[in-house]
Symmetry: C2
Subunit: 227 residues, 2 copies
DNA sequence: CAATATTGATAGTATCGCTACTATATTTGT
DNA sequence: ACAAATATAGTAGCGATACTATCAATATTG
């Protein structure tokens, strides 16, 4: 999917950054560079000092945009979910059937992201890999409650809520829509990671996107009224 | 569940440690102390120096047992899965019905662990909390392929394989048994974490164990032959 | 009781996460 | 036009972390 509207930009909760990285050239280089570097080195080996060197700036300058590397990771995942929500709304608009909307949502949320450069300075395919491999580290911390209170995970919760509402359209009696959707989104990420690194934990059928197919089947069967 | 056999101890892949912590008093204090400390501070804030102080030993001595804090985390999760497999085998023995065995396995793998002190120096309830909040950090690293090659995740893969085989007994045509089980195990952990910290991502029905119930329903519906 | 393994104390290296301070560029008011 | 105000970038450094090396003290064992 290419960029839908050229004059749209993804808004990120402004409590996540000290200075908006979209507001300057250096800011954009920080985002582009950090995506490249986290994808390449992993979050643990990634540091602001290395990033500064790479993008021809300094550690202290990066700290003017983000107060910690944790916040930068939160920013990246938050941007990603903002972008996903934007794509989700487009893909579901004008589709009458709730079931069709659900299937489209599952496809969007579980499929692999291709290189398509829809936002100039952000490589969405790399960012997808980062979200798969690193985003759990953004909330699996002792600071999760504070971060949550500041609204850092709001966009993600919104997506889960949106898709849950579609499920309730299909079966208003279904008791676990949020569990199903959050299980599916996080599960799909894990399955892609397992396919690459721990294949014994998955079932890869070549020539098909098993991950998306598996979760579509799972969801449809789960929400169909008890027989 | 109390300890099943007093003369049984859980074996952990010996490539994970430098010196077996079960082999000495200091080793056991390292395990007990690290479980307390990681549960309390989280893996990021946990250091060998702090642990040494807490258990009345030194940083250098701890390094004689584990070459890094990453390896210690791998040890703890590996012990946990070894313990789970042992309980799993007991709980499923002498049960003829495959469906009943599957339901028991799901209960075991998704339920909350109570304080029961079945192995003297290991608090399984705390360890369960650590596995929920920290175990993803044991494999979401750039070193995952090396670690996997050394067999660090073997026990976990074995559990997934065991339960997958039960699914295939029920429906030999089901295409995604491993995906279903690994999604379920990791998913249940996430749901418990979400219930505590990001409740908008789950559906808590008070008075019931929604997590276990949700995954039981999900699995049974998923593997039932296509109608 | 001698040989050996285990532990502890101390100090050291390299890097990390982060900050105080300084220098330079840009904008603004008169 | 030009100095003052402001925004932005870079240098240097601090305390902590992850881990290692050395050596003496103390158990353990054969």
């Amino acid at each position: 999917m290419n960029r839908l509207l050229s004059n749209v930009s993804i808004q990120v909760n402004d409590a996540i950054y000290l200075k908006n990285p979209e507001s300057s050239d250096l800011g954009k280089r920080i985002i582009t560079g950090s995506i490249d570097m986290i994808d390449e080195l992993g979050f643990e080996h990634f540091t602001f000092r290395k990033l500064g060197k790479k993008i021809g700036s300094s550690e202290a300058s990066i700290y003017r945009y983000f107060e910690s590397k944790h916040k930068l990771l939160v920013y990246l995942t938050s941007w990603y979910w903002g972008w996903m929500e934007y794509r989700l709304v487009f893909r579901l608009s004008n589709i009458d059937s709730a079931k069709e909307r659900l299937l489209r949502a599952i496809t969007l949320l579980t499929e692999q992201i291709e290189e398509d450069q829809s936002f100039s300075h952000i490589n969405e395919a790399k960012l997808n890999r980062i979200v798969i491999a690193e985003s759990a580290k953004a909330y699996l911390t002792k600071e999760v409650d504070q971060d949550n209170q500041e609204g850092f995970f709001g966009v993600f919760k919104q997506i889960v809520e949106r898709v849950s509402l579609i499920i309730l359209e299909i079966n208003p009696a279904y008791k676990y829509p949020h569990m199903l959707i959050s299980t599916m989104i996080e599960g799909a990420h894990h399955q892609r990671y397992f396919a690459a690194h721990l294949p014994k934990l998955t079932d890869i059928v070549k020539g098909e996107d098993s991950v998306t197919r598996f979760y579509k089947e799972l969801a449809i069967k789960a929400i169909e009224p008890q027989s």
